[in-house]
Amino acid sequence: MARPFRFWVKKRRNRQTGSPQLAALSQSVFFGALFVVGIAFLIAVIIFQFLPEWQVISKYERTTCEVVDKRLDADPADASRHRPAVQIEYEVDDHRYRIWTYDARYHRGRGFDSGTESQQQVLDEFVVGGNYACWYDPLHPDQAVLIYGFHWYTWVLLLLPLPFIVIGGSGAGYIGITWGKSAERRAVLVQRASHLELFEPSNDYKDDEYPAVPKATDLTNSPGVRLKYRLPIERSPMWRMIIAGVVFLVVMTITVLFVNMAVQTHVANDPDWLLTVFAGSWLIVSAATLVYFLRQVVANTRAGMTIVEIEDHPLYPGGEYELFVSQTGRLRLRWVEMSLCCEEIATFKQGTNTRTTRKRVYWEQLLRQEDVQVRQNVPLEAELKLGIPAEAMHSFKTMHNEVHWQLVVHGKPKGMPAFKRQFPIHIYPTPRERVVL
């Protein structure tokens, strides 16, 4: 029986209802159009902006002219747009020329702009009867300009079409390369490209010893004091404090502005009560962010560093490992615990957003102590055994999916917010007989 068509389910693989060919065609039209627009715009800029100015630089010769007259020319197509026009007189090979000109675009009937005042300012720079440098075309001496060199916006205009060309070209190129190719063949192309094996014919695709398992090297580059390795912390708690500090500063700046405006209305005996209430609400928000920031400062300064060391890495299912944990600082903890945790992490696109979902699939408490006093220079230290479950899934990481193992130190100081520090570990598949492909 045919399955009813549902809009709200994720449509992948055999649930896809669209035509891949039509999708690829639409994408190629989109990227192709971007590329064509970019190229057309670039050609137009080169022809109408770059080349005239370049010709002046490369071909024209310098001489001196006298300004005879000046005016603002109106655009015949749009009377609100103008351009400066200067009548000059100059001599080339004993022949005197009197022409109207300004820059390289003038003789092509362009150069009009809507800013009349700025055009007038340009015109004011020239004084009738004054002598100025000008550049004339040796092949056509009746053509001369008063402006030599490139306008700054010529370079901007040349750069503008580049994003269109790069995005359109690379998008169209990617579709061209993958057109008519299966998902498997595309994956092989990507894998080979990432291993720079484009020219190496291979059937049994050569990959790492443990494909899709994170490398252990990033966790073993820091030696420990008690045990072999000191595990790096996943995300420094200082970041939360720094972000809280930045948020507080931004909110405080806005609050000061509004409070100042509100106070001024009161000083001027014309109180704006709506503004006053608004400024008051900002004061409450800034007070809340200040409290949060100060709590983070206290939590980070009093709850010092957390150090976790391990005797070996990577870890294997069924293995048992020595673990050492140390919590420095100067605080009284209502409780502190250490746990082994495994999370599945999935990243997916929802519309134009990229979202990440986590789901905890394993949790085991390794240590819990209650009512602990941590003193300066007398850290809380514990040695314990870490047992990896025999049937544990190994660590796994690809672009959108991950199986993430970590050790979590979680503590609740008295009168302060709880802190949580995570230390990633990598679990490899059980070493049966390592396959080297």
Binding site: E184, V188, N203, D207, P211, E344, R360, E391, V403, E433
Partner: protein, 137 residues
């Protein structure tokens, strides 16, 4: 016109393997005219399923194409064989699942294709289940 068909079989009927095991199998193509097959791809691969976007990686791949002068004989069963890697193991997670399969894809005229897959497991990782976050006090 009878639509060409392809069927993939694995020699190990239990379809359970360990890393390092050699996976062998064969495919049979059911077609009237051999010129109906423009190209054929045989791959052993894994992909992810679940909440995240799909990731796919090919472990073994070969392609025969009539346009490239390859001879495709659809009237004789074809065989494939590869040694499975150390990872990833098959996994039935809560929001992340890893599936292995052998896939044969036939490319027909006018851009059409037919495909068959034979699923198998690598390793013996039991299915995961969600663990509720503990409420700390």
């Amino acid at each position: 016109m009878i639509q060409p068909r392809v069927v993939v079989h694995l020699d190990n009927t239990r379809r359970e393997y360990e890393p390092g095991d050699t996976l062998t199998g064969e495919y049979r193509i059911d077609v009237v005219n051999r010129w109906d097959i423009r190209a054929m791809e045989v791959s052993v691969l894994w992909y992810t399923e679940g909440k995240g976007d799909e990731d796919l990686q090919v472990h073994y791949f070969y392609r025969l194409s009539a346009d490239d002068g390859d001879y495709i004989n659809p009237f004789r069963p074809g065989r494939f064989s590869t040694r499975l890697p150390n990872s990833p193991l098959s996994y039935e997670g809560v929001i992340v699942k890893i599936r292995w399969c052998a896939r044969v894809r036939l490319f027909l005229p006018q851009g059409k294709d037919v495909v068959d897959e034979a699923y198998f497991r690598v390793g013996q990782i039991p299915a995961a289940r969600a663990v509720l976050p503990r409420t700390d006090s």
